[in-house]
């Protein structure tokens, strides 16, 4: 669905090293216009460095980059005119009020006085900040600061928006609000480059996901494509009677039994075809099954399989997204 659109961001062979330490080791990225691309990885993978390079903050050591149709090396100002950046550390002026912060952005985007005031009021309204407009951001909650930050980014009507861990440290409710705002932007045709350490966030928002680890992209694709990359999908049959379990274990070669739980795991990629085959076998052998669940691997599994260790985010978010099960 996205492949035939022109690229909003195209980077090849991106390299960056600080002294001896290689941060980005030749990464390639293509982000189609009007889509959400998520760069997913643990702390220190190189996500922020990538955003800093693509948003003209720092220079890459090597590689060619084009953002919103402008070559970054030749026309950095062209790039700057088309992008907006919101980082995990809020870039607001703490001594100005929320409204003054937005008006400052309007001035820097060279909007005339009237237009600047109009856009400011509109953005305050949109992000539910009208009541807090006259207060300094130091009085704001973390979520309000992040919303003001995003509102400031939107003042210039950017075509491409970089969101560097936009929801890190936010409570789940505010995170949902940010997600809604991001979806609205995409609906309006904006291209989003999102970095996150939350697997769930990438899963929710991104059209395409790239997994970054130690400065290299270890996998790229849609959420489903990535999940298919790894084994781990299985059907789990639950029984009431040990005898039924015995019989089922004999019927399905390659299955693993869990006597304590009276359950049997059958490897499966979860498609309807193999599911029907299993059900047919159960029918023929007249085995009574209490319940059946389909387990598809989630991005956690993908990360673990591709990097050999769990994503740090997975530990952080433990309990929030335990295991994804689809009961059919």
């Amino acid at each position: 669905m996205t492949l035939d659109r022109p690229a909003a961001i195209a980077a090849t062979g991106l390299r960056k090293a600080y002294g001896e330490q290689t941060v980005l080791d030749g990464i390639d990225l293509t982000v189609a216009e009007g889509t959400v691309f998520s760069l997913l990885g643990p702390n220190g993978a190189g996500k922020t460095t990538t955003v800093q390079i693509l948003s003209t903050l720092i220079q890459a050591d090597g590689g060619s980059i084009s953002v919103a149709g402008h070559d970054l090396a030749a026309d950095a100002d062209g790039v700057r005119g088309a992008i907006g950046v919101t980082g995990q550390f809020s870039a607001v002026d703490n001594l100005l009020t929320g409204e003054e912060n937005l008006l400052l952005m309007a001035d820097l985007h060279h909007l005339d006085r009237h237009e600047g005031r109009r856009r400011t009021a509109e953005l305050l309204e949109r992000f539910d900040l009208t009541d807090a407009a006259a207060k300094a951001p130091s009085m704001y909650s973390g979520g309000m600061r992040r919303k003001l930050d995003l509102a400031m980014t939107l003042m210039g009507d950017p075509k491409v928006i970089f969101l560097d861990e936009p929801t890190t440290g936010l409570d789940p409710r505010t995170r949902r609000t940010m997600w809604e705002a991001i979806r609205e932007l995409v609906a309006g045709g904006v291209t989003i480059f999102l970095t996150t350490q939350y697997l769930e966030e990438a899963d929710e928002l991104a059209d395409r996901i790239a997994l970054l680890d130690h400065g290299k992209i270890v996998a790229e694709g849609t959420s489903d494509e990535l999940k298919r990359l790894i084994p781990g999908g299985h059907l789990r049959l639950q029984f009431d009677d040990p005898a039924e379990l015995d019989q089922a274990a004999r019927t399905f070669a390659g299955s693993t039994r869990d006597d304590a739980a009276l359950a049997l795991q059958i490897p499966s990629d979860g498609d309807v075809h193999s599911l029907r085959a299993v059900l047919d076998h159960l029918d023929v052998a007249s085995i009574e099954v209490a319940s059946l669940t389909v387990h598809t691997p989630d991005l956690d599994d993908v990360f673990l399989a591709l990097t050999g260790r769990p994503a740090e985010a997975a530990e952080e978010a433990a309990g929030e997204t335990a295991e994804k099960e689809t009961v059919r």
């Binding site: 003209t56 720092i58 700057r80 607001v92 300094a136």
Partner: protein, 263 residues
């Protein structure tokens, strides 16, 4: 709009932002203007009698010393003020908003120009207050209008030069807490020069340093213009130092500003 007009517009926007920040955070301004006023009053009334006698002037009293003291205090006002510049630049660099400015299509130098002009205006306010206090406690000048204009001109140029240096120091600082360390030297320099006592009254080694360090020729030139003492080569030296400091500070600041952000 032309590039130059855009740069001017962005600089004005940044200046407005800085002025607003001064208003919101007046404690620093008050402190920076308070320091030279306190030193003026302390040296005039606590040490003035003795130091006046040591000068060997016409009457050799406190009134003589106040006249001698004021040009040094004026320069101290400038260096105290640019200390504030370094702190506010460092605050900016660590607040993340500079990173936002860098990703926007605005004039590159506008952020720094805004700081320099804002600080300069603040220094002017400080100078007016300090000079006013000086007149109140008995500072008397025999300079004519042309000499006053020349003195004000030199002080302004020297302020702008020091402000650029302070901007660079603020950019160089690893944290807001350490931003005032380097500029503190600037506040001390009037002491290690001809600001409070004549340089030939200092110990041999220090006297040589005091004679040639940048503040002394500026102080001596201002003193000559306002009080009629001999200026000699000091005017040329003062202008040379001003140009050198200004150029060095400007180039250093721009270099540091182009550097990748702290985080």
């Amino acid at each position: 709009m032309s590039t130059l007009a855009l740069a001017a517009r962005d600089s004005r926007t940044m200046l407005r932002r800085n002025m607003r920040r001064w208003v919101r955070y007046p404690a620093m301004t008050v402190q920076l203007i308070g320091i030279p006023v306190i030193f003026l009053l302390m040296f005039a009334y606590v040490f003035g009698e003795t130091l006046g006698a040591g000068l060997g002037g016409p009457s050799g009293d406190r009134a003589d010393y106040i006249n001698y003291l004021v040009p040094g205090i004026i320069l101290m006002t400038v260096s105290a003020s640019v200390q504030g510049t370094a702190i506010s630049v460092a605050m900016d660099m660590h607040e993340g908003i500079i990173a936002r400015f860098r990703t926007m299509a605005i004039s590159r130098g506008a952020v720094l120009t805004g700081h320099v002009i804002g600080s300069f205006l603040q220094t002017l306010v400080g100078l007016v207050i300090v000079t006013g206090v000086a007149f109140l406690i008995g500072f008397r000048t025999n300079g004519n209008v042309a000499e006053w204009i020349a003195a004000i001109g030199l002080i302004c140029l020297f302020s702008i030069a020091l402000t650029w240096l302070a901007v660079a120091m603020g950019l160089k600082a690893k944290s807001v807490e350490t931003a005032s360390n380097l500029p503190t030297l600037l506040v001390l320099l009037p002491f290690l020069g001809s600001g409070f006592v004549p340089t030939d009254s200092l110990p041999a080694g220090m006297s040589w340093f005091a004679e040639y360090q940048p503040f002394s020729p500026v102080i001596e030139t201002v003193r000559g213009l306002l009080l009629g003492t001999e200026i000699g080569t000091n005017a040329v030296l003062a202008l040379a130092w001003t140009a050198a400091i200004g150029l060095f500070g400007y180039v250093w600041a721009l270099r540091l500003f182009r550097r990748p952000p702290v985080r």
